[in-house]
Symmetry: C2
Subunit: 218 residues, 2 copies
């Protein structure tokens, strides 16, 4: 898999994965690119093109084997190869992720959380310790951490991201909705923009479109 694959194709892989899990739950064993396309609002040819980036996932005769296709896409996404994450900021959002988000299903292990609040430091949430934010640097220096989840106040986001990047953290999952325009070297930033989602819903509610707002395949 050394080809340069478009970022848009990669972004569709988690959506395929969700839809295949759903099909598996419905006990569907085979699915054609046309059926999958109808479920996801894509054309059959786009789906085949996407899958051909990864060798095609072995479509034979009528459609794909759901289980094999799911395994193939999980494998491309590397879900079986566990990475380590820490949460920076154990406020409401950080705690919501710690309590309810299935890091494991994305191939991540949540190792620790950091906060400045004395009321939180030392607490354990869903099996994960909240450590003193002052310990973040030393912790990162002595533990391999792949991703920093930024759920802290906007104001401290850039410096925390910089500290993380300086200590070898290669990915930032940024919930602060600010542009991390500090020098983070090769660190990969994934921004979460919840407003995009609500603006999209608003468009359809305001009667500006006659299609459903639902992320098709969502």
């Amino acid at each position: 898999m050394n080809y340069r694959i478009s970022a848009n194709v990669i972004r569709r892989l988690p959506r395929y994965l969700r839809r295949l899990l759903w099909l598996e739950k419905q006990q569907v064993e085979k699915v054609s690119s046309r059926e999958l396309g109808t479920l996801m609002g894509l054309t059959a040819s786009q789906i085949r093109q996407d899958f051909n980036c990864f060798g095609g996932f072995g479509q034979q005769g009528y459609g794909y084997n759901v289980r094999q296709l799911k395994a193939g896409i999980s494998d491309v996404l590397g879900v079986g190869d566990t990475l380590t994450a820490v949460v920076i900021g154990a406020g409401n959002l950080g705690r919501a992720l710690m309590s309810n988000f299935h890091f494991d299903e994305c191939g991540f292990r949540l190792a620790a959380a950091f906060d400045t609040s004395p009321a939180l430091i030392g607490a354990e949430i869903n099996g994960v310790k909240v450590l003193d934010a002052a310990e973040l640097g030393p912790y990162l220096a002595s533990h391999r951490v792949d991703v920093a989840v930024l759920t802290l106040t906007k104001k401290y986001a850039p410096e925390s991201a910089k500290l993380a990047a300086e200590h070898g953290v290669r990915g930032i999952w940024n919930f602060t909705s600010i542009d991390l325009d500090v020098d983070l070297g090769d660190t990969i930033i994934e921004d979460v923009h919840l407003s995009d989602s609500l603006l999209n819903l608003g468009y359809y509610l305001r009667g500006r479109g006659d299609q459903r707002g639902r992320q098709i395949g969502g």
Copy 2:
């Protein structure tokens, strides 16, 4: 704007809007489709095609006027036309949205939140009251609510969505990551799948791609 515009075009509008706000902050007054494309990982021709769905937003000579383009896209998204939302479930995630999410910037007013916890009922968070979840039905019957934000336990999500839809709520912003496969009539569902975002980041961290994971234009 009575054409049937593709859902993918609509989904790009919030991204354009964010990028234009960013350009405005950099005090950029004019931007060409090519420059905007480079910033957002799109081709100039795709951008022109997108904008032509809405009459083109008046590109003249060299590029678009940033302020006018931003106003035009805000207008299409209807940000100036305020809709009403309620949060169902004032746990960590609900409270995080109440405290930090700018509903107003998306053209929404958050009117109330609902929870079953006696410790939360009656509390006011960022100016919004938490009401008893038992009052949800009567509240919806006597107040116009456009969107229910589902931040409650998965288990109760379908019945809450159904109750909301039965009381005329036309949109569901669903954070529960379950398929709301109950009959919700014409209610529009917008699902938030945070796992898609982390899976995407993981792909790049695992060295499967040579491109940045950052949502370009994000």
